[in-house]
């Protein structure tokens, strides 16, 4: 009950003190569509909850961790990304056709959508703002090393950089390299190391040393 009242208070505050032009416009549109009977506001709540709490980069992290510990799964992922990922019960909207691309010592992959914002929702959730914005979309295909530098990454010159521009309905998931020193880690522990950015190709997994024993034992 307390939680509900608290939530309500926030909405109340929004109603009267912090309404911007977009708040007004979007509320008017929702009111209109509801009055017309075209949308079910409860479905909107459900959609928002889905992408705020259930479908996000932790899903992709589980795919990556499974690929790190299970060579058969990794092979399956290479042959048929959609099916392998569906075996973990991830799939559907904006992930109907999945291809997993692996980082190696020779090739570094980066995913983008220069034309809009295509992104593998079932495994990564909704795309971050920067992924959908002009600076990334314009520059990543032309100067990927410069973009990586902005994310704090420098690659050796001999590594080929490959940018995957998602121009159709194929969605790409980057499988980062497993960090060294994690041989005795469990799949669940490994998943903790996998960041969203490492699955887009603009980051690497967390340093295993950054997760202390205490955090590991509590996962």
């Amino acid at each position: 009950m307390d939680g509900h009242d608290h939530h309500h208070e926030h909405e109340h505050a929004d109603d009267h003190s912090e309404l911007g032009p977009m708040d007004v416009r979007v509320r008017a549109l929702e009111t209109l569509l509801t009055e017309k009977g075209y949308i079910d506001p409860a479905a909107l709540d459900e959609l928002i909850d889905t992408y705020q709490t259930r479908v996000g980069p932790r899903n992709g992290a589980r795919v990556v961790a499974r690929a790190w510990v299970d060579p058969e799964f990794r092979d399956w992922l290479r042959r048929d990304g959609t099916a392998a990922i569906a075996s973990l019960d991830y799939g559907g909207r904006q992930g109907e056709h999945m291809i997993a691309v692996e980082q190696t010592d020779h090739t570094h992959n980066i995913v983008a959508c220069t034309l809009c914002s295509c992104y593998p929702w079932p495994v990564l959730g909704l795309p971050p703002t920067w992924y959908k914005s002009a600076p990334y979309r314009s520059r990543v295909v032309r100067d990927p090393r410069g973009v990586l530098a902005e994310f704090g990454m420098t690659l050796p010159d001999e590594v080929e950089v490959r940018v995957w521009d998602s121009t159709a309905e194929i969605r790409y998931l980057v499988i980062p390299q497993r960090p060294a020193g994690t041989d005795d880690w469990t799949e669940e522990q490994l998943a903790e190391l996998v960041t969203r950015d490492s699955m887009i190709g603009v980051g690497v997994p967390l340093d295993p040393m950054s997760l202390g024993d205490h955090e590991l034992s509590s996962t």
């Binding site: 569509l33 909107l44 928002i48 109907e96 914002s117 295909v141 032309r142 490959r162």
Partner: protein, 233 residues
Amino acid sequence: MSGNERYVTNADLGGTTGHGAIEHDDERVVFHHQWEARVLAMTVAAGASGKWTLDMSRRYRETLPDYADLSYYEIWEAGLERLLVDRGLVTADELAAGHALVKPLEGIRVLKAERVAAGMRSGSSTERQVSALPRFAVGDLVRTRADRVDHHTRLPSYAAGKIGRIERLHGPHVFADSHAHDLGEQPAWLYGVVFDAAELWDDAAPRPDAAPRQSVLIDAWESYLEPVDERDT
């Protein structure tokens, strides 16, 4: 495909300059404002009406005259308003009033809360069967269409008129160019085509011979591509 008016997309950003620095954000932040969440959900829910396709939504967003000045979810909201009016679901007067003024269109599918999970989980595949065999095989050299087209397309301008190599054969998929204009699915073979960076950015500053290797892959429908004789290159 879009009549006499010239089709102008404002979303074809690959390789363009002057957009500033990338503003990174935390992976736990999904929406920056509450209204963004409502726009995302309304767009998905209204899409279930069956009155337009995903390709059509993209067409409506990318042709917004003020695309460059809008935030991402402002683009979605404006695109949704235009679709709703053009497809006859609401009137401009209703949008201005923020209330229903005339009777709703009949036969609109409504996404119910209890159907959300199953609907999102099943998605909607764009793969189709076609009787034609693929024109190209993995390893073939191809040149992309150079001419500008007067309709929605998924060939980015930076990759137009360029020579690449077929790397993947994805199967036949719904053709975005026709689907976005209400001209049917017209499924066609889709390929992953890889381009060397030097082919794409020939106006760029000269690179040293030992420049790091760079490539870009796009997914391209068969009609975007023509064969290139290996001996000519």
